[in-house]
Amino acid sequence: MKALFQMTPIELFKITTKPRSYIGFLAITVIVLLIEFAFYIDGKTYLQFIMQTLEQSFTIQGNILNGNLICFIILQMLIVQMPLMVALVTGDLISGEAAGGTIRLLLTKPVSHANILMAKYLAGSIYTFLLILWLGVLALGGGYLVFGHGDLMVLKSEELVILRDGDILWRFLGAFVIAFLSLNVIATFSLMLSCFTDNSIGPIITSMSVIILFTIIGTIDIPFFDQLKPFLFTTHMIIWRNLFDNPLPKSQIITSITVLVGHIILFLSIAFYHFTRKDIQN
């Protein structure tokens, strides 16, 4: 345990010194600010267009264009891109050391392979957490600051959910926790792939390819694919949206969280099995 406490800050430090680690923060900053700016300039026109059909049946009053709506829209958009930002860093954690040759020195230090891998996983998780936190600060904090508070209208394909302002914050916190778990699956997956190769491009590209493939399978309504969908982690990565349902589909959310955690454990176990037995020959 002492070795783990000793190694995790070192691994985190290494992440902070790599320029690629800031790409994610930069991308989030640019995208979120751009969206907020666009909504600030033209948000009302956009919402009027969306609400046209609704206003034929309902009378809508109050501040609809608020921080809650902005954050919800940003989450929907960014959750697709964020796996790439995470894999860019976590896919390099082991393979980057192998490519750079530093793995030889790293593995001759008096720290077990298991502790080194665990430290890298924890550092990758902290990085993922900070990325989510930054998204939260900009999207929710920035949203409240610029657009203020208000009830959230969630337009779904079959229903319109209206959530009271006072009933939303915990849902966003829950959504960020699930987003963290989802991205942690990607982090663990790319870390696992990183153990099998000596270049970091492979794990990053493979991670993204798998996400794209699983997402395509998840969106095509073919009976054969329907049988696969419950087992794909991408199916469960979008469960954060269910936190904005009323009533809350608790069992569905718990099932998805269980599947996500199960994937993290599975990928970590494979990574541990391989890494602790790996011969360093390069």
Binding site: I10, F13, G100, G101, R104, L105, T108, S112, R277, D279
Partner: protein
Amino acid sequence: MAQELAIQLKNLSKQYKHITAVNDLSLTVNTGEIFGFLGPNGAGKSTTIRMMLSLITPTKGDVIIFGKQLAKERNAILANIGCIIEKPDFYLYLSAKKNLELFARMNGLRPSASKLEEMFDLVGLAGRSSDSVKTYSHGMKQRLGLAQALIHEPALIVLDEPTTGLDPQGIIDLRNLILRLKNEFGKTIVLSSHILSEMELIADSMVIINKGKAVVQGKVAELLSNEDLIVRFEVSDTERAKSEIGFSQWNTFFRNDENGRLFMQISKDEIPLLNSFLVEKGVSVSGITYQRSLEDYFLKLTHQV
């Protein structure tokens, strides 16, 4: 009094599917000595060294370092080893000082700024510690590699091909540093190298391995004492010297080059005898230099000639 063993390899083997990289290798290294590890490319030197450092898991056999079994007490053993494996690689985006600090912290140390500077002084990198490793030459990285290997003051230092890519001055500096580490600090040093004459200059003991097996092991002085040297004689009259040698017991062992120098393949003990012989025959000898024909010895042992 029996010398304490720093390293014991017992029947060490490494099998990769159809290739046997190391085959039932056993050897011992005494504490406080410089031990040379020789062998042609692909002989299994690097695999053996990596098994000693737990980078590769042996298929069979034991590695015992300072009386502890590597398979059981890996971390305790590695805490007492400093190493450079092949080329010294570092985090290029960090400064040399930060790299050294990181590797020290991986050993559980938090070195002071003065300790870090002391290490940079020791390896001849004083004044360059703040530079990014990206800007370092190979020789400088090699020195930094040594600093990294020494920062936690290990009792055993393992250097795999440390002279690769170094210029002549770099090789001399490294040799002097290795000798200093042994003589002043009492370190045990395991060294693999392709420069065989280097090994003769600094190693106390050595092993030559080929095809994963030890061909010969022992004290360098003992192993090489009976081997012939290539001795160059600078003489006043080359033709006369050749003629006199032609009628002597050394008549089958001489040749000369276009500059009129004589090259003799004789043992070390024969040098004064031949010198006296030439002087007696009226040939002035103005210089004698020799080099060990280690390459020949090496090739003979590894059955390549």
